[in-house]
Each structure stands twice: as structure tokens, then as C-alpha cells.
Amino acid sequence: MLFLLMYLFIDLDASKIEGSQATAKQAAELLRSVISQQRLPQTHQATALISAVRAVGEKLIAANPVELAVGNIVRRVLHIIREEDLSLATAAIDGLELSAVSDDEDDVERDDYPVLSAAAVAAAARSTLRPPSLQTLLEDTPISAAIPHTSSSGGDSEGKSRSVDKSSRGRKLKHDVIEAVNELIQDISTCYEQIAEQAVEHIHQNEVILTLGSSKTVLEFLCAAKEKKRSFKVFVAEGAPRYQGHLLAKELAARGLQTTVITDSAVFAMISRVNMVIVGAHAVMANGGVIAPVGLNMVALAAQRHAVPFVVLAGSHKLCPLYPHNPEVLLNELRSPSELLDFGEFSDCMDSASGGSLHVVNPTFDYVPPKLVSLFITDTGGHNPSYMYRLIADYYSADDLVVKRRPATTS
């Protein structure tokens, strides 16, 4: 497993894995193996799992902070662990109550039992349902220590069943978490199909669609509409300096769509004849803003000027719970200038002692503010940018925003 980890780090560092989907899938699989191999103590299984995942996640995120999908998956897994733990605790509480009710006939030996069990129930409820605060942290150790103690003070059978309960609960937690992570991986793999299903609702006959660069989501989306016998035209802007637009245009033309390749500078000229702009995203932030391939802010502004809907397609693994502070600088990656200028071209004029200096700027991403986006189409349906914060509450917990381990003294 260590080797797996190493390979993933190296790949992320060198940005060799292209595309958030592949990255997300690999990260999820890695975390699944981490979870399955983690030995869980009798108590605080959830906490142990969480800290283990956090340790690995921190390293993954540090390898490539700009690849936000990795951080998203780490946080999703953490949320899954917490949720599974919570659901098990509520099931256990229900079970305890049932057992308390059934034991009511035996009053004598179990006189203190219902009281204790009530206390135990309350304690269990507090520890899992309440958000962590100073008090819960202080209360945690004695109460959970009391539960096995009280259970062992009860009848042997109950004690045994309780401890069996605990260990089986631990195994059940792991099992449930791994199942949920499998579901997550499944969701990531099928996000294209689910988004593409919605294509027919948005593309009608004889439309003209504009896109920039290349995105697999967009390709599947447009081809799904084509399958349903809608005929439309596509303008693809090149997307310098990577020129992925050429690839997309070739693919679309091969599948039978009327495609025209234009330069990025011609976007404003052509957008007056375009009905819809459909693009993919690198990440969607908590405020509804989009981290997109460079050039898309320009396209979004042009679309706003001409009142053309700007539609962003994004799988749910791209939804990031962070708020973008100064995204052009902090969430951006500057690539090599050799993509713009050949190495030897400007060396002679740089040598002269005239004092001229040359900087070459080659950013990879652009930030599109939420007010320029008309619609997000995710695998859960279409949403407004103002709704994206609510989706975050579904997928992530507030504790996990900062994936940094606390210093060793408290853990």
C-alpha cells in the first residue's frame, strides 16, 4: 500500500494524471485501501479512521494543492465515516432502547440497569450527535469508558453481548464505510452518463453552441444530444496554449456534428450568433464560482454581454467546500513559458545591455464569478450558482474543511 501511496504522490506532483475524474477515482481507491487496512481499536473507531484518513489526505492534498478534486474526495470520505458512524450510533441507541424495554420485566437485578442504560444512551447520543466542543472532548473519555464498565458490571451475557456488539459495531463501521466509498467511486465513474442524460432538455434543433478547449463531459453531453437526433452546430475555440480545442473538434466532427474551429480571439466576434455556451470546469467553489481553463472568463463576459446562457457541466466530485480567496493567484498554476515562446527566440535581445526585461505569463486556470454563470448541470440535476452552497452540506461536514492533523499532544 505504501507503494500505491508513493506512486499517487509522484503522479499528482508531476500532474501526470490528467483530468479530475481520474484523479478523484484514484484518490478514492487509495483511501478505500487505507480504510480497509486500518486496524480499529475497540472504542472510538470513527475517530481512529478519521485520523488515519486525514493523515493520508493531508499528504495527498499537499502533493498538488491546485488539484482540488483530491481534497474533495478526502473530505467526502471523512464525511462518509462520520455519517456511517452516526447512523450506527442511532441504530445502537435504538437497539439499546429496545433492549432496555425488553429487560424491564426483570426488575430486581436490573434495577439500576435502565438508569445506567439511560445514562449510557444519553452519553452515546451526546458523543456522536453533538458537534465537537471543549465539553464533549472532556466528557468523551470517562463516559465511553463507563459504558463498557457498566456493561461488564451487568450480567455476563449482556456484557459479552455488549463487547461483541462493540467489536461487531467496529467491523460494521468499516464495512459500511467501504461500501459507501465504493458507491462514491461508482458515482465518479458514471458522472458522464448522468450529466449527458440531461442534454436533451437543454439542446434543441438548429442550435449553435460555443465551447472552449476540451472536456470529456462536454463531449459526452453534445454526443448524447446528437444521438437523440437533434442537429446543431458547434463552434470550438482552440484553447491556447494547450490547443485542446483541436482534439474536441476532431472528435465531434468524427461523430457527425458540424464543427467549426475558431481562434480564441474570435470569440467575441462569433458569440453574437451563438445560442448557448457549454463548458466544463476544473472545480466549482462554495460560492458558485468556477475554476475553469484559462480564457473562460473572457467567454463568460462576452456571453453576458450578448445575453447568451453560460452553462457549466461538472460532476459532483468537482464541488469544493472551500471559498475562493484571490483565486487567480492562489488556485492557479503558472506553466512553462516555452508553450508561448520558443526558448531561443528572445535570448539575443535579452543579452543586450539596454536593460529591457521580459516576463512571460502562462496561467492554467481562470476564475469565473458566480454572477456570470447561468446554470450548473451536475449528476444530480441542474442548479443555480446560488444553490451550490447547499449541496456542500450534503456531501461534506464542517469539521473537515481543514484537513490538517492536530498536533500530537491532543490525539
Binding site: 482552440e238 484553447g239 491556447a240 496554449p241 490547443y243 483541436h246 482534439l247 473538434a249 476532431k250 465531434l252 466532427a253 468524427a254 457527425g256 456534428l257 458540424q258 464543427t259 467549426t260 474551429v261 475558431i262 481562434t263 480564441d264 480571439s265 474570435a266 470569440v267 467575441f268 466576434a269 462569433m270 453574437s272 450568433r273 484559462v294 480564457g295 472568463n297 473572457m298 463576459l301 462576452a302 454581454r305 487567480e328 492557479n332 513559458p337 508553450e339 508561448l340 515562446l341 520558443d342 527566440e345 528572445f346 535581445c349 535579452m350 543586450s352 539596454s354 536593460g355 529591457g356 526585461s357 521580459l358 516576463h359 512571460v360 505569463v361 502562462n362 496561467p363 481562470d366 476564475y367
Partner: protein, 506 residues
């Protein structure tokens, strides 16, 4: 009796319609029924408005009143043939500069007051390339046979989309064979086609110099009037240049100036005097409207550059380059951001020159404009033409830059000479544009790995579109710096109206 009546009526009809044809067709040509020999390509005819035709008629009738009686019977019969031919040619419009105005000025001395003519003086229609009839006729008269590009973009069917560069070797071999085209003009046409000259100022200057040489070498054939013959010759040269590469809107202004000067030549001048007058006029035009105008613009715009500024420029505009260099020479401390785009990558030449002179520059491509715009304090852009509704026609991508600058509240200054102002109006970049070589999009120079579009011509669903110009709306432009001063975009039609007519008549 009745026959003579009919003949008279017919004759008057034919005569009036015959004089509709522009003044190249002289009285004698009516007797020859066969069309002109192809070696001298027939001159351009464009639609003349009703007012001009009437003015023409009246003046010429007055002049020819004496000889009317002689040409009666001959006119009646051959008038029919001439009529059919003249109708064809008068309805043929070519993508050329508006040539109506020299007719109006010519006949101004007639009865019509100038204001009425100016009102009806709408710009003539340009050639629309989806009209099969006209395209066919233009092709038959063309000297340069361009082949149509495969995979044409449907949206731009009204613009010529040709296989670029295919005619260059063909024409080069014909250099000494074509008598109809003066060698200087031929050379300029070839250089246009090869893409050696780019930028309106350079193209205009080269074209005017070539016309100067052609005028110097010109000699009037016997029994012909210099004015008409020279105008015909100039028109033929212009149509040749147009076939090599479509004229830009502001070059039309220069050509219109030349034709006006020719038309204004007093008839008493001898050939030599006329030619020297014309050459000095052209010299004056180039000097005043381009060279000195540039100096004035640089003077105005340099006052806008302050210490600590970060100036953004796009494309290769000679005026903007002059502004930056002069501000640097004066000693101001500023940075320059040079934005470039495909497929021409022309800003790299500008970058070279700026760095050689010692400016500190940042280079980036047009997609990264949103990234860099928060650092920028002013944007300086050049223009190919400025239209009457305040929109600016210039290199494709300028509109994107102006839009992003507007979104970041950065002022946009357009620097262009006043001869580029035109009375046309345009709302978007589709109706009037130029389509460049689509093959230039398929390959990226210097990046061998980007070869996805190698066989793009084989894909029937795939088209490549290489637009050359785009139109920037007037609300993105803060100020236009011209040799008349710094004006807001809303004042452009005022300049066109007030200064357009008079300055050309000096």
C-alpha cells in the same frame, strides 16, 4: 411619319439611358458594337444615384447639343446593343471603394445644390459573394483566378473564401506578361497576397506609392481625355489589388481621395502638369494624413502615460509602438504588457523591438487577459477603421481585450489617424470581415505535438475559420486619439461630416 416619331422617341430613350453609363463611355464607342478587348479590363462601374445621373445627363446634354443631330440614326440602332451591354455593366458591383462621389463633385458646378446630393449619397453596396450572378461575372473579368476553399463556413458565404497562396507562384511568373497592370502595382499586389505588408498604414502607403509610379509612367492615348482614362486605369489597378487581397475600409478613403483629385484637375492642364500635380497631391496626403498625423497622435497620447503605469497593448500597431517608444525616450517609467494571439502571433515582433529599446515587458496570450488585467492601468489599441456609429474595426481579438478592460474598469484608448474614419456603420463582425487562410489554424509553429488537425480537409463536418477583423462596440472605448485631438467615440460621425469633405478638397 409614325416611324420617324417612334425613332425619335426611341432615340431619346436610348440617349438618356446611354448617358446613364459613367463617363468613360464616349460618344464614339457607340458605333462599335463589339465589346472591349479583354486586354484592357473594363473599368469599374458602380451604382449611381438618380440625382447624379440627372446631373450627368444635363451637363453632357448641354455639351453635346451641337453634335446631336449628326449621330441620330447611328445611335438608334447601335444604341440597342450598347444599352444591353451598359445595363449589364452598370448593375455589376464590385467590392471596391465608393466611386460615386467624384461624379457628384465633378458636376457640382451644374445646377444641383450640394446638400441634396450629400443626403442621397448613401455608401454603395459591396459585392456579396453569395450572389451567383455577380460572382460569375466578376470571375470572368478577373485577372487573378482564385480557387475556392474547400470546407467553406456557411455563415460567411457572403465573403470570399479562397485557397490562400495558391495563386502566388502563378502570378509571379506572369510578372512581365501582364500589360494591363503596371509593374509597381503588380509588385504591391503580390506583396499583399504573400502577406508581407500588413497594417493599414503600411498597406495604404505602399499602394499610394505604387499608384504614384503608375501615374508618372502613364501617357494619355491620343484623342482621349486624361481625366477619364486615368480614372479608368486607376480603377483597374485597384480591382487587381482587391483581387490579391480584399481592401480594407479605410484604404477606400485613400482611393477616393486620389480619384477626387484626378476629377478636379482643370482641363487646361497638359499631361505633364497634371501628373506632377497628382503626384504632389499624393505625397501631401501621405505626409499630412499618415506621417504628420502619427506625430500629432503620439504627442497627444504621450501626455496620458504617467510614471508607474502598466500599459497593455495588443497586436502590431505602428502608432502604439511609436507612442511607447517616445514615452520611454522622454524618460517615463512604465511597464508594458504585450498580448498576442494566434494565428499570426504578430506581437512578437513588437516585443522584440520594445525589449531592444530597453522597456520592461510582460508577454502573454489573449486567454490570460483576465489574469493580467488587474495589474493594468491603461490599454492602448490601434484600429483599422473607425465607423460612424463609434464602433472600431481592428484586428480580431481587440473586442475581447476592450471588453475585459471594461469589466475591470481600465480605460481603453484607441489611437488612429483621421483618414481611417468612415461613414459606414456596423453592428457586428459577421457582415463585413475578411477571412484568412484556414490552414494557418491547423498547425502551430514550433509545437510539433499539436497535430490533431492534420487532415482537416478530409473531414466533411469540420471547418476552420480564420477571421481577420472584429468590431468593438463603442461603449468599451473610452477615448479615440486622432490628429484632430482626443475625441469620444460618439463624435466620430461629426468628424466624418465636417472634415471628411472639406479636407480632401484642399
Amino acid at each position: 411619319m409614325a416611324q420617324i416619331h417612334i425613332f425619335l422617341h426611341a432615340f431619346i430613350l436610348f440617349l438618356s439611358l446611354f448617358f446613364v453609363v459613367t463617363n468613360e463611355k464616349k460618344h464614339e464607342t457607340v458605333t462599335e458594337v463589339c465589346p472591349n478587348t479583354p486586354s484592357v479590363s473594363p473599368p469599374l462601374k458602380s451604382k449611381t444615384t438618380k440625382a447624379e445621373r440627372r446631373a450627368l445627363q444635363e451637363a453632357q446634354r448641354a455639351a453635346k447639343a451641337a453634335s446631336k443631330a449628326n449621330g441620330n440614326s447611328a445611335v438608334a440602332e447601335s444604341g440597342k446593343a450598347a444599352l444591353a451591354k451598359s445595363k449589364n455593366q452598370s448593375s455589376l458591383k464590385k467590392d471596391g471603394p465608393p466611386v460615386t462621389s467624384e461624379v457628384t463633385i465633378d458636376k457640382k458646378s451644374g445646377n444641383r445644390p450640394p446638400e441634396k446630393e450629400r443626403k442621397k449619397d448613401a455608401p454603395p453596396q459591396r459585392m456579396q459573394f453569395d450572389d451567383q450572378n455577380r460572382v460569375g461575372k466578376a470571375k470572368r473579368r478577373a485577372l487573378v483566378n482564385q480557387t475556392e476553399a474547400k470546407n467553406r463556413v456557411e455563415l460567411f458565404r457572403h465573403l470570399p473564401q479562397y485557397d490562400h497562396g495558391s495563386q502566388l507562384p502563378n502570378l509571379e511568373s506572369k510578372l512581365f506578361q501582364l500589360d494591363s497592370v503596371h509593374p509597381a502595382v503588380f509588385k504591391v499586389g503580390l506583396r499583399y497576397m504573400a502577406g508581407d505588408i500588413s497594417g493599414v498604414n503600411a498597406r495604404c502607403t505602399e499602394m499610394l506609392r505604387a499608384l504614384q509610379e503608375a501615374i508618372i509612367d502613364y501617357s494619355t492615348p491620343p484623342e482621349k481625355v486624361l481625366i477619364r482614362e486615368l480614372t479608368a486605369k486607376i480603377s483597374s489597378y485597384i480591382s487587381f489589388i482587391n483581387e490579391c487581397r480584399p481592401l480594407s475600409i479605410s484604404m477606400g478613403n485613400a482611393i477616393r481621395f486620389v480619384k477626387r483629385r484626378i476629377a478636379k484637375l482643370p482641363l487646361s492642364h497638359t499631361d505633364v502638369e497634371a501628373k506632377t500635380a497628382l503626384c504632389s497631391d499624393i505625397d501631401r496626403f501621405i505626409n499630412e494624413k499618415i506621417i504628420i498625423a502619427d506625430k500629432v497622435i503620439v504627442g497627444h497620447a504621450s501626455t496620458k502615460v504617467r510614471d508607474g503605469d502598466v500599459l497593455l497593448t495588443y497586436g502590431l500597431s505602428c502608432v502604439v509602438e511609436m507612442i511607447l517608444l517616445s514615452a520611454h525616450d522622454v524618460g517615463k517609467k512604465f511597464r508594458v504588457v504585450v498580448v498576442d494571439s494566434r494565428p499570426k502571433l504578430e506581437s512578437q515582433a513588437l516585443l522584440n523591438r520594445l525589449i531592444a529599446k530597453g522597456l520592461s515587458c510582460t508577454y502573454t496570450h489573449i486567454n490570460a487577459v483576465s489574469y493580467i488585467m488587474h495589474e493594468v492601468t491603461k490599454v492602448f489599441l490601434g484600429a483599422s477603421a473607425v465607423l460612424s456609429n463609434g464602433t472600431v474595426l481592428s484586428r480580431v481579438g481587440t473586442a475581447c481585450i476592450a471588453m475585459v478592460a471594461h469589466a475591470f474598469s481600465v480605460p481603453v484608448l484607441i489611437c488612429c489617424e483621421a483618414f481611417k474614419f468612415h461613414e459606414r456603420v456596423l453592428l457586428d463582425s459577421i457582415c463585413c470581415n475578411e477571412i484568412g487562410d484556414p490552414g494557418a489554424l491547423a498547425t502551430v509553429p514550433g509545437r510539433m505535438d499539436i497535430n490533431y488537425l492534420e487532415n482537416w480537409t478530409n473531414e466533411e463536418n469540420l471547418q476552420l475559420l480564420n477571421l481577420m477583423y472584429d468590431v468593438t462596440p463603442s461603449d468599451y472605448v473610452s477615448v479615440i486619439v486622432t490628429d484632430h485631438g482626443m475625441i469620444p467615440p460618439t463624435s466620430v460621425p461629426v468628424i466624418v461630416r465636417e472634415y471628411g469633405q472639406e479636407h480632401y478638397l484642399i
